[in-house]
């Protein structure tokens, strides 16, 4: 249980990191290390070169804008969890992050790392999918933007080139006072979720849903958008029947099967947890944690 030998680099700027990435074969980027370090210790991965991004200050920031919030790729999960600005403007982050690993791993883990590792059960990609986030990527050819919906190429593989790195994530915040919840089912708190749900709702004073976003983690390689559920919710007045009808649209989604659960169980969880997430969003902050 010791990492294999590798050459180690700790560039101080994104440009240096890209130059290294473009010139080295079989290189791995080291972000927070909460997934890559276990894989190195167990020698599941044997890189010749490890490029550590932890000494690049420009990658760690939360831009508190009302128009477009930008989060640097190396921003620690814990900083996002503790940001008062995000707690007010985008409270789903805190609710989702409390369910990511443990405090000790969130102190190191980063948003860009979670996104690029792209574990199917990961909470943050589902949140970013619900927010329709844009992923900002830089490589030798310059910078480009990838919509979150196109970011997962396949299982645990983001749609970026080997010589590119994710520098930040941006999204338009929902209207102030919008409702949200993140609900998941895991065997034990902190374990990988079998299914997780991110739900965002904007309602008017009469309680009618003006806008809804519902995404699932843990059912496919990348986050899955529940468009049918969203369509049911928008334009209607929120109530028990509506929530049930919307949630039932998720019962026949394509769900993966693995050692943890068959696809039928994931479909059941998807329907059940979507109902709980929408209800928790309506009930208010923190309600998702007790479900």
């Amino acid at each position: 249980m010791k990492p294999p030998p590798f050459h180690y680099y700790d560039p101080g700027t994104v440009q240096e990191a890209i130059a290294l990435l473009g010139s080295l074969d079989n290189a791995k980027l080291l972000a927070g290390g909460q997934s890559l370090m276990p894989m190195l210790n167990m020698r599941y991965v044997l890189p010749d070169h490890v490029i550590d991004l932890n000494r690049i200050p420009e990658l760690s920031h939360i831009d508190e804008s009302e128009d477009r919030i930008v989060i640097g790729a190396m921003t620690r999960q814990r900083e996002i969890e503790r940001s008062e600005f995000l707690a007010r403007r985008c409270p789903i982050f805190r609710e989702a992050l409390i369910q990511v690993g443990h405090r000790q791993t969130r102190n190191r883990g980063t948003i860009g790392g979670s996104l690029c590792h792209l574990d199917p059960a990961a909470e943050l990609p589902a949140v970013l999918a619900a927010l329709d986030a844009t992923i900002h990527v830089t490589g030798p050819q310059g910078s480009r933007e990838v919509p979150i919906a196109e970011f997962p190429a396949f299982y645990m593989t983001p749609a970026i080139e080997l010589d590119e790195l994710v520098t930040s994530i941006s999204f338009e915040p929902w209207p102030e006072g919008h409702k949200s919840a993140f609900v998941e089912f895991a065997r034990r708190p902190g374990d990988f979720a079998i299914v997780g749900v991110a739900a965002l709702l904007a309602t008017n004073d009469a309680g009618e849903v003006l806008r809804a976003a519902v995404t699932l983690a843990g059912v496919a390689a990348g986050p899955v958008r529940c468009s049918a559920a969203e369509e049911q919710l928008v334009g209607a007045g929120i109530g028990d029947d509506l929530i049930r009808v919307a949630a039932e649209t998720c019962r026949d989604i394509d769900a993966m099967e693995d050692v943890h659960a068959p696809s039928s169980y994931r479909q059941h969880l998807a329907a059940e947890l979507v109902a709980r997430a929408v209800q928790a969003a309506v009930d208010g902050p923190g309600a998702g944690l007790s479900r």
């Binding site: 030998p5 700790d10 290390g33």
Partner: protein
């Protein structure tokens, strides 16, 4: 192809551990945990799983807890590390958490204890007056195979009380 072991990268790093500065020459692949234990002789930090699951290796890096099995020693270059050896006061008096753990039988074999103490130092700084569910949640990243956690939870709650009113004796 990976490098042969004799061709591994090395670096000189300087880390401050429990207030004392150390200059060490390390292989870049050496974990912080192994650096503390094998190079600095600080064997209070334990290794249970070496892949981030058990929490036994938890130390404080610049005041924040981290799994030392999931950090490279080179990443700690320039950092301030606190290990279990450093949480008692300078004159050797135990930290209130240590006293409470002793009195509440919060350890049996003690393998998990170092990681739990360091984790709870950070937790109680942030949340000086936790309730029991909060303590259990904060402990969720540390596995104890002996105690069944009852004593640990009681000890953390008691230590929180002592830290809030330092002159009061244990309430147990």
């Amino acid at each position: 192809m990976s490098m042969t072991p004799e061709a591994t990268d090395r670096r000189s790093i300087s880390v401050t551990v429990n207030g004392q500065r150390h200059d060490v020459d390390v292989e870049t692949r050496l974990t912080l945990a192994d650096c503390l234990r094998h190079r600095l002789g600080l064997t209070g930090t334990h290794l249970g799983c070496e892949h981030g699951v058990c929490g036994a290796c938890t130390v404080l890096v610049n005041g924040n807890t981290a799994r030392s099995c999931l950090m490279l020693a080179v990443q700690a270059d320039g950092a301030e590390i606190a290990t279990v050896e450093g949480i008692a006061s300078e004159n050797g008096e135990w930290h209130p958490l240590q006293k409470a753990f002793h009195e509440h039988h919060a350890l049996q074999c003690g393998f998990c204890t170092a990681g739990i103490l360091t984790s709870m130092v950070e937790f109680l700084q942030e949340n000086p007056d936790p309730d029991e569910p909060e303590v259990r949640e904060a402990l969720s990243g540390n596995i104890c195979r002996c105690t069944g956690y009852q004593g640990i939870v009681q000890a953390v709650l008691d230590a929180a009380r002592r830290l809030r009113s330092p002159n009061q004796e244990s309430s147990s």
